[in-house]
Amino acid sequence: MSEISPEVPDNRQDAPSHVDPNSTRITKPGVKRLVLTLSVLFSLVLGFPFLWKSVEIYRSSLPFGEISEMESNPSLSFPCRFQAVFINFNSNPSPNHLQLSILDKITELTSNSSQCGACANDLALSVTVDSISSCTQTHPTDNSNYYRCGAISAVDFDFSNDDDDGVDELLESVLGVKNVYSVVVVNGGGEGIRAVVGKYRHAWIVGSVEEEEEESVLVSRVAEIFVKMFVNGGTENGLIHGEFMPVGADRRIVLSFNLLNAEPNDWVYDWDFQRVDETLLAPIIKVLGPIANISVESQVLYHTPKSSFSYWDEKWKSYIFSTKDLPFFVNSNEWHLDTSIAAGGRSKILQFVVYVPSAKECPLSLLLPTGEISKTNGFISPMWGGVVVWNPPGCLNSETNHPSRHTMSREDLQAVFEVFMGQFRQLFGLKSNNLYIGASGTYHLLPSGKGFTEWELDVLSRQFACFNLHSCATTLGSLSRLVQSLPRMIIMDEIGKLVQFSLEAAKLAQSNASLGDNESSAGQARSLAEDAFFHPSIMSISYYSFEHCFAIYSPFFLPVSMHVLLAALREWKRYKQEKAKYTAWKAKVKVES
C-alpha cells in the first residue's frame, strides 16, 4: 500500500502565496530513501573484506626459516670408535704411548679431507697390549664393548698356512660388536708384515717385529687401516656429489640384466637366470636393503650388433677392441635395453649387459692401454651400468653354418656374475679387486659372499646418509626460493605437509647419526623433499594473476556497485537540497514572525 502524504491545506491557506517550491519547502525532507540507499552502500562496503579474503590465494605456510637453517648446515657427524690390540709383544710398549702416536697419525691422515662422515669431532681409541706375562689397557670411557684381556693369543694365528677365513671367523666371535672397529697386531710368523682386512669390522696385521723403530711402521699401518679402510671405504676422495650414488629419488634401484646375441644366425645363447637370481643375487639384495630397495629384471635380446669396430690380431689370436672404442661400444639404436615396466618415474635403472659376439668377431678381447689383454673383458659407465663381453667356447674352431641354441654353462655364468659383482661394486664407488695399495703398504681385503663386507656396508650407508641429507637440504632450499619468488602461486596443503615431514626426518637423521645409529631417515627425508619439489601442482603458468582475478569478479560487482554508488550520491545530494530549502523557509518564517 502506498502512502500518500497527508494534505496540509491549513498551511497552504495560511502561507503567503509567494512560496517558491524550487527554493523553499514547508515540510521536513524525508530520510527514508537516503537511509535505504546508504544502508545498501554500507552493506556492500562491509562485505568487501569478506570478498577479499575469500579470493585470497591459498598458500600453505612453509617454514622458510627452518629450511634455510637446514640448508646452511646439512652435515652429519658420525662417532668413530676404534680399538687396537697388540699381542705377543715382549718389549711391552706402553699403551698410552701407542694410543697417542696412533691418534697423531689418524689426525694427520684426516686433516686434508673435510668430507661428510669423517671422524673429525667424535673419535675414541682404545689400545690394549696383551702378552703372556701381562696385559695393559688404556681406559676408554665405556668399557663394555672393548676387548677383554686374554681373549686372543698368538697361538690362534696359525702362521704356516694362510687360512684367512678361519682367523676372520675367530676374531669375529671374540671381537664382534657393532660400531667398534678393531685392528689386531700380532708379533710372530715369518718375514715381513702382512695385513688383512676381514669381512666384518676388524683387520689384523701379522709380522715379526722386534726393534723399536719398526713400531712406528706398525703405528702408521694401523692408522692407515682405520682411516683409509674403515672410514673412507678404500676409496680416495669424498663422494658427496651424485656421481657414484646410483639410487633413485624414491630409494629404488632396478637392476636390468640383459643377454645380447649379436648375430642369432651364428648361435643363440640362453641362460638360467632364475637360479642365479636365487643363489647369487638374493643375499646381495637383502644386505643392501637399508640403503636401497632393489628389484631385478632380465631379458634376452637378439640381433644386437655393437657399433664400434674391431680388428684381428695375430699375436693374441683374437679380435681386438681397445679402450678408445669403449665409449662407442653400446649401440643404443639397436640395443633396446630400457624396456623396464617395474621402474617408476623416479627409480634408477642400472643395466648389466652380457654381449655374445658374432662368428665374424669371435673371440673378442679388450686391449688395455698397457698392452695387455683384459682379464674381465668388461667395463662400466658410471650411473648407467656395465658390459661384459663373453666369448662362446671354441668359437675360433667352430664351423657351424646353421644357428644352434645353447645355454650358458653354470661355470661360465658364475664367472660372468663375478665380473658383474665387481662392476656393481665399482658403480657404488668401491674397488672390485681384493688388494689395496696404501702409502704404508699393501692390504689384502677379504671378499664376502654377500658382495659387500660389513665395514663396506657401513661406509656406504654413511655416504648415502650424507648424500641424502645434502640433497634434501638443497631441494628444500630450491623449493623455498621458488615459492618465495612467485607470490601468487597456490601451494597446496600436501606440499606443506611433505616439507614438514621431510624436515622432521632430516632432524631425526642428524640426531641418530650422532648417536651412531644408522638407519634410513635421511633417505626418507630426501624422497619426501623430492616429492614436495616435484609436486605436479607447482606449475608456474597457472598462478593466479591479478588480471585474472579482476576479470572474473568485475562483471558481478562493478555494474551493481556503480548503480548503488550513484543512487546513494544522488539521494544525498537531493537530501541536502531539500534540507537547504526547508531551513530557508524556516528562516523566512522566523524572520516574518
Binding site: F328, S332, N333, K375, S540
Partner: protein, 403 residues
C-alpha cells in the same frame, strides 16, 4: 645467485662496490668449482615442433630431420623427447602417404624407420612442455615421456614453429612466453637437471625467446634477431608446400658431413651460418656459458658420449667354491622369491598417505568417518530424492504460517 649491481647514493659506496665485486667473484668461482667436479654422463635431446596443420609441413620436417641427425650421431630414443603434432604423414592432403621429406629431391624419407614420438597431436601444449623441462609430472606418466636427466647431462633443446617478440606460438592456441622459458630453465638449474644446455630456436624473431635467461651453463642460438623473419628454404612443387626452413637446412648440411668419431667444434657450427643465405642473422648468446666455443666439440650436445671405466677384476668369493656342492632346495628359494615380490608390491604405496593419516585432528577424523559411512549407503540416490520431495510440504507449511 645473481648479484645485481645497485646504485647507492650513500657514503661507503666504494666499499659497497668492492664488497659486491668480491661477492660476484666468489660466487662465480664457487660455481666454476662445482661445475668442474661433476662429470659429463650422458646427452639428452628435447625436440619440439609447435605447429600443426598442413601448411606448416616444414616445421615438422625440421624437427624430424634434427631427430634423425641426433639419432645417427648416437643419442638413443630413450634419451630423446620428441614432441610433434604429427599430422603430416597421414594427412589427406599428402600426395606421398606416410612419407615426410625435407628436400624436393625426395631422397630421404624422414618418417621411414623407427620414429618414436613421445608427445603427439594435442599433447603438445605449453603445460606439457614445461612439465617435461621441470620434471613435474603426475605419478602415472611413463618413463619414456619424462626427461630423466641428471646433474651430468648435456641437453639439446630445439624448438621450431611460429614465433614473435618474446613468445612462441603453440599449436595455434597458446603461447610460450620468454619469461616462462627462463623460469623453467632456472628451476632446472636449481634442481641440477643439466650440466649444460644448448637451446636452438628456428622461428621468426627467435633471439627474443631466450633474451630473459639468467641461469649459468646455457648456450642459445636463434635463427633471427628481433624484427627479422626466418624464411623457408625452398618450395617443393610436388608436395605443394615448403619443406624445410633455411636455418635448419644449413644446420643439417653441416652435420651431414660429420660422423660419430669427428670432433668439429661448436664455433665452427655457429660461424657456418651465412646471413645472406639465411636471409636473417643467426644470433647466439654465450654470456652464460663458461667454456670457449672453440674447445667444445659438437658431439658435446649432438652425439652420445659415455664415460667408461675398465673393470680390473672380478669379485671372487669363497662362496663360489661352495655353490657346486649344494643347491638350495627349490621350495625354500621360491618362497623367498615370493616374499621378496610381496614386499615389493606393498612398497609402491605412497608413504605420504600413511603419514598424513596419523596426524589428523579429531574433527577431520570424524568427518572422514562420516564420509566413509556415506559412501557405504547403497541407495544414496533414493535418499536424495526423498529429501527433495520432503522440501515441498515444508515450503507449503512455512508459507501458510507466515501469512
Amino acid at each position: 645467485m645473481m648479484v645485481r649491481y645497485k646504485m647507492h647514493n650513500s657514503f661507503g659506496f666504494k666499499s659497497l662496490a668492492a664488497m659486491l665485486l668480491l661477492l660476484i667473484l666468489s660466487s662465480s668461482t664457487s660455481y666454476r668449482a662445482s661445475a668442474e667436479t661433476t662429470m659429463h654422463t650422458n646427452n639428452w635431446a628435447v625436440l619440439v615442433c609447435t605447429s600443426r596443420f598442413w601448411f606448416n609441413y616444414r616445421h615438422m620436417a625440421n624437427t624430424l630431420s634434427l631427430y634423425r641427425t641426433v639419432k645417427r650421431l648416437g643419442i638413443p630414443d630413450e634419451r630423446i623427447i620428441l614432441m610433434l603434432a604429427d599430422d603430416m604423414a597421414c594427412n589427406a592432403r599428402n600426395k606421398y602417404p606416410a612419407q615426410v621429406f625435407n628436400n624436393e629431391n625426395h631422397k630421404l624419407n624422414l618418417y621411414g624407420d623407427n620414429v618414436e614420438v613421445d608427445y603427439r597431436g594435442y599433447e603438445v601444449t605449453v603445460e606439457n612442455f614445461l612439465r617435461v623441462l621441470t620434471g613435474r609430472h603426475e605419478a602415472a606418466v611413463p618413463r619414456s615421456k619424462r626427461l630423466l636427466s641428471d646433474e651430468g647431462s648435456h641437453i639439446l633443446l630445439y624448438m621450431t614453429g611460429h614465433g614473435g617478440d618474446e613468445f612462441l606460438k603453440f599449436q595455434d592456441s597458446e603461447e610460450l612466453q620468454s619469461h616462462d622459458l627462463a623460469d623453467a630453465v632456472k628451476q632446472m638449474k636449481e634442481k641440477h637437471r643439466f650440466k649444460e644446455l644448448l637451446i636452438m630456436v628456428d622461428t621468426c624473431q627467435a633471439a627474443t625467446l631466450f633474451s630473459q635467461l639468467h641461469s649459468l651453463g646455457v648456450l642459445a642460438i636463434g635463427s633471427s634477431m628481433k624484427g627479422e623473419n626466418s624464411y623457408s628454404h625452398h618450395l617443393d612443387s610436388d608436395v605443394g608446400v615448403s619443406v624445410v626452413d633455411r636455418f635448419t637446412f644449413y644446420t643439417l648440411a653441416f652435420f651431414e658431413k660429420l660422423n660419430m668419431y669427428d670432433n668439429a667444434s661448436l664455433s665452427s657450427l655457429f660461424t657456418s651460418y651465412n646471413p645472406t643465405l639465411l636471409m636473417s642473422t643467426a644470433y647466439y648468446r654465450t654470456d652464460l656459458y663458461q667454456r670457449k666455443l672453440e674447445e667444445v666439440p659438437v658431439t658435446n650436445f649432438f652425439g652420445s658420449v659415455m664415460e667408461t671405466i675398465h673393470t680390473d677384476s672380478a669379485y671372487r668369493t669363497t662362496f663360489s667354491r661352495k655353490t657346486s656342492e649344494t643347491i638350495m632346495p627349490l621350495q625354500q628359494s621360491v618362497e623367498h622369491d615370493e616374499s621378496r615380490q610381496l614386499i615389493n608390491s606393498n612398497v609402491q604405496d605412497q608413504t605420504s598417505d600413511t603419514k598424513i593419516e596419523d596426524k589428523q585432528c579429531p574433527f577431520t577424523r570424524r568427518w572422514n568417518a562420516f564420509q566413509d559411512k556415506l559412501e557405504k549407503i547403497e541407495r544414496i540416490d533414493s535418499l536424495v530424492n526423498y529429501g527433495l520431495i520432503i522440501m515441498f510440504p515444508l515450503l507449503l507449511i512455512s508459507t501458510w504460517l507466515s501469512r
